[in-house]
Amino acid sequence: MTATETHASQWHTRDFPEAARDLLQDSQTRKNVQHATNVIQGKRNKVVAELPDWEELRESGAQVKAHVLRHLDHYLTQFEENCTRAGGHVHWAADAAEANRIILGLVQQHEAKEVIKIKTMTSEEIGLNRELEAHGIRPIETDLAELIIQMGKDRPSHFVAPALHVNRAQVRAMFQREMHLPELGEEPEDLATAARIYLREKYLRIKVAISGGNFLIADTGGLCIVESEGNGRMCLTLPDVLISLVGIEKVIPSFEDLEIFLQTLPRSATGERMNPYNSTWCGVHPGDGPKEFHVVLLDNGRSPILADREARQTLQCIRCAACLNACPVYHQTGGHAYESVYAGPIGAILTPQLHSMEEGRSLPYASSLCGACYQVCPVKINIPEVLIHLRGKVVQEDQATLMGKFSLWNIGMQAAAFLFKDASRLAMAERIGRVGQKALVSKNGFIEWMPLMLSGWTQTRDLKAMPEQSFRDWWAKEKAPGAKPADRSDHA
């Protein structure tokens, strides 16, 4: 088993309901998550409300992204040409293994024993850190939250604020231990200073940096990264060699399109009008920045998504995480319940698709379809619609197996569909239900226990028993032509 496989096998081991059940017991994490999401969402709502043309910006962003996805081959080749002309090297990676192989090769070629990294979800997606470590190379995360995750041997739970589930006291304890700073104070400045001192030495010494990328710019061959801490700027400018690992869907047609995204992304992600650091660069320049620049374009399950007309919009995502912050399910569980690199509503649609629906099959169901994600998404991904589409795939695939065909869910749903095709069948079922429920109804007129999957309802909820008369029976008796109402005075 390679390191990558080991890493991948750490995710997707449990279904969402099972993982969520455990996380719901963790009151500290839940408190941290609720607090953090409330704060970010409050800030986001405030700065979004400032823009009179917010809806138009969302629409433009969605259209640019949708256009790119229809012509992805064109824009990627254009990017490759322009990037190469500017002195960059473009590599194509079909999957995680190939991307790891390319990056490892580049690092080894420069005989680096350590690399510095800027927060990148794609590197998490391919399990790059483990692959590097397995070959004796130490990756050092420079984003504060990623550093916290790395030191705590934890997993990211949110893709803008990966350590959102950890609070300040927990960070302090970790720094005291890992950085050998027993006297460390508890103020945010104390923690930031400790991290800064720890990292600065690394920036100045280590010669190879690895980044992700927010945007690949086709018409210039450039890249763009936005960040808040300045660690990114250090990694992008100080080392001799820069390797950027970017998903193929991140390409935009032109530099001018940043006009849209540099307004919508920071507002959606951190509730800022603009990111403190916006870096764009193009190839290499003598005496300025890295001497060698590589871009690894990652597919890893993305192109099959393009072929699915309903679900293609998934790839419009700019990873702002606004949908996580808005999601009432995420509020309760945090990111780890998704057992996936990508959590929250976007994770629930992206993860199973990246794995050809072979993993994360419970994720499309990890939503009440409340629509809060769609409402905030700056590129208008209709997540509820895609969730339902993917549920449809799960059901169809399950029905093709013997176990799925004879599952209680399938039998129940087929039976219900049979009843709903004909009102007389439905009325008959209601009558049977009224008699059948008697065994379950308590003295107070409520059902407090139900069997099998319905027990999920009664574990925390009562259900009022079906009344003696349905509406249709009442109508037939009281209102229908030819009915003989018991008391005519009501509707004289």
Partner: protein, 247 residues
């Protein structure tokens, strides 16, 4: 106006009083109500759970029953959102061009109950009296799919004696989500616990909404905890009069 009532499957079996209240209010406003006994369900449970192919015949049945109706009124925003958000797509998925055309012809005449009163009839005061402290739960579909905005609030504000209490975090889901409430019972219950806390904080004795599905969920917990809060569909509040006459 001749109004055709689509009661919805769960209101028919579990909340007949809501249907009676809709009839009561619309008759009081001088409209003629009809009930087509062939009606069944909108198909939402199947569609939202991923039983897409199974939903299509249910949709076809709905369209067949109501095709010639002048106006269809439905006391459930989630069923209306099922129709507006998904019917065309379901018909397209089935490759049935005639069904697509029929759906497109029918949908403009389909209204959610409160939306029908305010947007179609232009009525806000239906002459109701309801001397209770009430809080309004805005269901997700009413807000994000039908964009009802303050329509239900405007109706409630005209009810005599009604003391309307705003609820905090009104935009957050109650955790029902149809089969989500049993497939993800733990998370759903956690969401419900938060929502119930907000409802209790208002001090209201009645929680209302335009969807009995959310109310069934909320009341499931309110009753389990033996709180004093009860739930009532908005139609039941609007049907209540000083004389106490109910349908």
């Amino acid at each position: 106006m001749r109004v055709s009532l689509f009661i919805t499957c769960y209101n028919d079996a579990l909340f007949p009083q809501t249907g009676k209240a809709v009839v009561n209010v619309l008759e009081r406003l001088g409209h003629e109500i009809e009930f087509r006994p062939e009606q069944t369900c909108c198909g939402q449970m199947h569609w939202n759970t991923g039983y897409l192919r199974e939903a299509v015949p249910i949709i076809r049945h709905f369209v067949k029953v109501y095709q010639d109706a002048e106006t269809v009124v439905i006391p459930s925003s989630s069923c209306v959102s099922m129709m507006r958000d998904h019917y065309v797509k379901a018909a397209e998925m089935d490759g049935d061009a005639k069904l697509v055309a029929d759906v497109e012809a029918l949908l403009p005449r389909v209204y959610e109950f409160s939306e029908f009163l305010v947007r179609k009839l232009g009525v806000e005061d239906v002459g109701a009296t309801y001397p209770h402290k009430v809080t309004y739960h805005a269901s997700c579909h009413s807000m994000r799919s039908l964009h009802l905005g303050d329509i239900p609030i405007r109706l409630l504000k005209q009810v005599r004696g009604l003391d309307l209490q705003p609820v905090q975090n009104a935009q957050e889901c109650c955790g029902f989500g149809g089969t989500f409430s049993i497939k993800n019972a733990d998370v759903s219950s956690a969401m419900l616990a938060d929502k119930v806390r907000m409802v209790l904080n208002t001090g209201a004795e009645v929680c209302t909404a335009v969807d009995n599905s959310c109310l069934m969920h909320l009341y499931g917990s309110l009753h389990r905890q033996r709180t004093f809060v009860r739930t009532a569909h908005i139609a039941e509040i609007l049907a209540a009069t000083a004389e106490g006459a109910e349908a």
